[in-house]
């Protein structure tokens, strides 16, 4: 085949993200869609996810799985490598995904630590729990719907009731963002560490909740 067309440009402008990593998680190549994702999500997070699904031998593999990175969601991915130094992924975007919005007028000023304390007092009203907190004292109040946040943390803490100790970390997530109303916002990351976590699929608008091994990670838009 002798094409005059530059195939790399087709890849470059494709809406499906393509990212090639070195075997130490460095980004070697990415198209525009890939670059867009990595302006919100850390490359390490994508790398750590794809190596879990990589084919055992040289080759390419389609994975039918929902890959969620913050606000991005994909239905499946092509993961593969033709040498042992590089690994690549191409995500296939969910064409039905909508632009996320939030009604800024309806948001209320919230102290996240107060909400966490309220949810704990409520959830563990009949139980003594040791709480270890890693809080950022300089964190300003955020703007969100307080009813939703209280319900969210009540529900999540109730899934951790089977513990004697819970560690809570609150920080601004570095290198990841969420796009709401076509505006990019930082993310507030709240990580609850506990040995016994009852996992449950939770859906709260504009909030990402991930149940991982011995921790729950909650990402909220950091709107101040």
């Amino acid at each position: 085949m002798n094409l005059k067309t530059n195939l790399e440009k087709w890849i470059q402008y494709d809406t499906n993200p393509l990212i090639i990593f070195s075997n130490d998680a460095k980004v070697l190549y990415l198209n525009e869609a890939g670059e867009y994702i990595l302006s919100f999500i850390s490359p390490k997070r994508v790398y750590d996810t794809i190596i879990q699904y990589a084919p055992q031998e040289l080759g390419f593999k389609y994975i039918k799985e929902t890959f969620t990175f913050g606000e991005f969601s994909y239905d499946y991915a092509l993961i593969g490598y033709d040498n042992y130094d590089e690994i690549g992924v191409r995500f296939y975007k969910d064409l039905h995904s909508k632009t996320k919005t939030i009604d800024l007028e309806k948001l209320e000023e919230i102290n996240i630590y107060f909400i966490l304390d309220l949810a704990r007092t409520y959830t563990f009203i009949d139980k003594e729990i040791e709480f270890i907190d890693i809080f950022d004292p300089d964190l300003p109040d955020i703007k969100f719907n307080k009813d939703i946040l209280i319900k969210l943390f009540n529900e999540i803490y109730s899934l951790l009731r089977n513990n004697n100790k819970i560690k809570t970390e609150v920080k601004i997530k570095i290198g990841e963002y969420i796009k709401l109303n076509n505006q990019k916002y930082k993310l507030l990351e709240i990580i609850l560490y506990a040995k016994n976590i009852e996992k449950k699929e939770l859906e709260y608008e504009n909030i990402t909740i991930e149940f991982l091994d011995e921790r729950v990670v909650i990402l909220l838009p950091f709107i101040v």
Partner: protein
């Protein structure tokens, strides 16, 4: 408003309620009758008014007792009921707080007695020592007991006759005999004197009746 919180669970309820004062979210409080639901509702939202059908100003904080439906989009609703909510009604509330029965927070009972006793004495202008019940079922019983003890203390014979008249009016039936009514008198008198003199011999002596007669009466009262 004095919030009684001696038991560990009540201390946590107090902390939660204090925090909720600053959060204008809807709260539902449930528990048995006489556990303090209305008081807690008022504590959480001191400016709230009691809801009625005619209330139209939705810019109000309202307290709805024994809620069955959400009437309107009021600024804030604090509702009470006897059991937890489910479904759509539950979703209207950010939190559901259960107030436990008094027998699950016995440490609070003595403090409730002290509070209600002081209030009752001030209202009635009667000073008298109150002997608390050991296991009052709820706060209504405590209040009733305090008022009863304070009022009974000042009764004279005419008051007792009035009380008995009211009792007979309300409770006398055709099945009650003269003797069964007299047993009320016997029971009150013998129980108090046994408590005072400790032995039946002494009681019989003071009442100027035969000891066997007294024993017979005591046995009858126990049947």
């Amino acid at each position: 408003m004095e919030f009684i919180a001696v038991s560990p669970i009540s201390k946590k309820i107090y902390k939660l309620a204090s925090m909720l004062r600053d959060m204008d979210v809807n709260v539902y409080i449930y528990g048995e009758e006489g556990v303090g639901k209305s008081f807690l509702a008022k504590f959480i939202s001191p400016n709230a008014i009691l809801y009625n059908d005619k209330l139209k100003d939705t810019n109000q904080e309202v307290i709805i007792e024994n809620i069955t439906h959400i009437p309107d989009n009021f600024k804030r609703i604090i509702a009470t009921g006897n059991s937890p909510l489910f479904g759509d009604l539950k979703d209207k509330f950010t939190m559901q707080i259960e107030l436990k029965p008094l027998n699950e927070r016995k440490e609070d009972i003595s403090a409730f007695y002290q509070l209600f006793e002081a209030q009752a004495k001030q209202e009635l202008k009667i000073q008298k020592e109150i002997i608390p019940l050991k296991n009052p079922k709820n706060l209504h019983i405590i209040k009733q007991d305090i008022y009863k003890q304070l009022l009974c203390n000042d009764y004279d014979k005419n008051d007792i006759i009035d009380v008995l008249k009211q009792f007979f009016r309300n409770h006398y039936t055709q099945d009650d005999s003269y003797n069964s009514m007299l047993k009320l008198f016997d029971k009150a008198l013998i129980e108090v004197l046994l408590d005072k003199y400790k032995s039946k011999l002494q009681v019989a002596k003071h009442l100027k009746i035969n000891r066997h007669t007294l024993t017979k009466k005591v046995n009858e009262l126990e049947d």
